[in-house]
Amino acid sequence: MTTELRASRKHLTPHVAVSHLTMAYDDFVVQKDLSFEINRGEVFIIMGGSGCGKSTLLRHLIGLKEPISGEVYFDGMDLWHSKPRERNHMLLRMGILYQSGALWSSMTLRENISLPLSEHTTLTPGDIEDMVALKLALVGLAGFEDFYPSEISGGMQKRAALARAMALDPEILFFDEPSAGLDPISARRLDELILHLKESLGTTVVIVTHDLDSILEIGSDSVFLDTDAKTIIARGNPKDILANTEQANVREFLTRGKVQERTSLNSFSSNPSRGKQDTSI
């Protein structure tokens, strides 16, 4: 789908809509009655403390875990009540970067990226080869085609996994803790890469994270999940939440627990230039 077409559909439906979703492991309810929408072209952050069910929510959005009750709509279609074939088609329009990278360890980077391409497109082997080279170049790993995942560093694995997630030009990219296990500079570079992708391809980005820098710098919309309330307790642009929230635990999270005056918070959030500068590469 071209960028213009995506843009023209922007007003139609939200890209992802979650309605009254309840998630549980056996009889332990993780989060209940979640409802929110993710609009096209947003950088949507799912945040919350450790163990609040962020990653579980992600697993529900990408078709890995069936909800106890409630629906997930992808582009207006019900993800969990569709036929397996239709669901598979929806999944192919999503790109997912797992926390561990989850590159297939028995395959080289070339094979990792070309596998979805050769399976789900009609490209010739030569074209696939070119695509692999392009995707690896986009994430700064040109020339690493023949390396196995175990032969490259953790940061490189993450980027290679991103290249794989982008292989089929997904409309929406999901990231599970993209900065986990990365040094601050690599984490920042990955954030920049995410923003760049979003801006040049119009991709919707959904990020599960508790990394404050990423949340405040690249997030344009968000939900805040709470462990105790077991539901969403804040919603909106993370900077606005930081500026306006009355809830102590949300403020504490977004300020890393530092006790600050409201005024200083306002001045911080009304000065988004820090984020802007960083994102222009």
Binding site: G63, I96, A102, S105, S106, L115
Partner: protein, 381 residues
């Protein structure tokens, strides 16, 4: 010695005790227990407050802290005030930290497992029931995927299949050679000692030949493959689960059943009949070696006796059995691997369980097939 921990309990007022702590209260030194300390104060039944005097305290570590935490619990329980004023400031800080976040009460319904024989039997039966359901589901999924494979629509990588065939076939030859040769020799030796009693040593050939072809070749090959290949399958798929690789396959539109399980089953089903035949022959060679070396039966005598006695049906039954074992071993390995939970120890458990399940499958199916072969009179001359 000045460094051993010493506790001096002294009475300051009728209802106030002072605990004088001296020496090194560290891991490895023998600390007095809280109960001991309370026993020493038994004299007074009016006790309301404990204070500390730490002037003689040389060193402390978490052992001391855990002593204090036990003491705090005891004091709470008995309604005694504990005055921490006299403790070193570092200790006070650590105690505050430990008390800062109260134990969470709402972590979920993690029921304390109930003890007792009947509970254990009940839980075990439920586990078996769930395991059985999982097995049924897995077999169903495998059948569906296999039908797809037969129609040429299963999606997996050819390279994977070749690698798996290489791993489960040729690479297993050395161990199969060794074990089969030895099993053949043992069969021959054990049988020959008895047969010699009535001068029938020549029947060693019958014993070894029929034993290997019908039963032992298939059995030994299958058990070796359960320990070698079945375990490898479980470990590989288990680590892929831990590393989210299985999820990544699913979300990339590949069915793990088609992509991972089918090539593994096919690889083992293709290679194991050949391995079984190889094992049969090696076993017979082992028998011939013993017969020649210890019982004066020449190779040609042995060979002619084999030729007279053994028919293709004997090999066929063994090989068919072994193929069934191969499929079951592969299924057990893949099932345990895919069922693995997400931790390193879970992968170990999955591997163990794959071998155990594989061997159980082999023995049970062998019993069924032997019964079948007998009632069909396949070996009738």
């Amino acid at each position: 010695m000045p460094n051993t921990p010493v506790l001096q309990v002294s009475r300051k007022a009728p209802d106030i005790y002072v605990w004088g702590l001296k020496g090194n209260w560290i891991i490895g030194s023998s600390l007095p227990t809280v109960e001991d300390a309370f026993d020493r104060m038994q004299a007074s039944n009016k006790l309301d407050r404990i204070e500390f005097d730490c002037t003689g305290l040389k060193g402390w570590d978490s052992q001391f802290l855990s002593f204090l935490i036990k003491l705090i619990k005891q004091c709470d329980y008995r309604g005694i005030t504990m005055d921490t004023e006299g403790l070193p400031s570092g200790v006070k800080g650590m105690l505050d930290l430990a008390k800062a976040i109260p134990e969470r009460q709402d972590i979920g319904t993690r029921n304390e497992p109930q003890r007792g024989l009947f509970n254990a039997i009940g839980r075990y039966s439920l586990d078996i029931y769930v395991d059985f359901l999982n097995l049924a589901t897995f077999l169903g999924d495998t059948t569906l995927a296999f039908l797809k494979f037969c129609m040429g629509r299963a999606r997996f990588r050819q390279e994977d299949l070749w690698r798996l065939i290489q791993d489960s076939g040729p690479s297993a030859l050395p161990i199969i050679s060794l074990i089969s040769l030895l099993v053949g020799m043992i069969l021959a030796f054990v049988g020959a000692v008895q047969l010699k009693l009535f001068g029938a040593q020549i029947f060693i050939a019958d014993l070894v030949g029929l034993g290997m072809a019908r039963e032992m070749g298939a059995m030994m090959t299958a058990i070796l493959m359960a320990g070698r290949t079945g375990a490898a399958y479980a470990a590989e798929l288990g680590s892929m689960t831990v590393n989210d690789e299985i999820d990544a396959l699913r979300t990339s539109g590949f069915s793990p059943m088609e992509f991972l399980v089918i090539p593994r089953i096919v690889a083992l089903v293709v290679t194991i009949p050949l391995l079984c035949l190889y094992s049969d022959i090696l076993g017979m060679i082992g028998g011939a070696l013993v017969a020649q070396g210890l019982f004066d039966i020449s190779f040609s005598e042995f060979y002619i006796q084999l030729q007279n006695r053994i028919r293709p049906i004997d090999f066929e039954v063994g090989i068919v059995k072994c193929t069934v074992f191969g499929a079951l071993v592969a299924i057990a390995g893949c099932m345990r691997g895919l069922q693995s939970k997400r931790s390193a120890s879970a992968v170990g458990l999955a591997t163990t369980s794959a071998v155990v399940t594989g061997i159980i499958f082999i023995v049970v199916s062998d019993a069924v097939m032997t019964l079948l072969v007998t009632s069909l009179n396949l070996f009738k001359r």
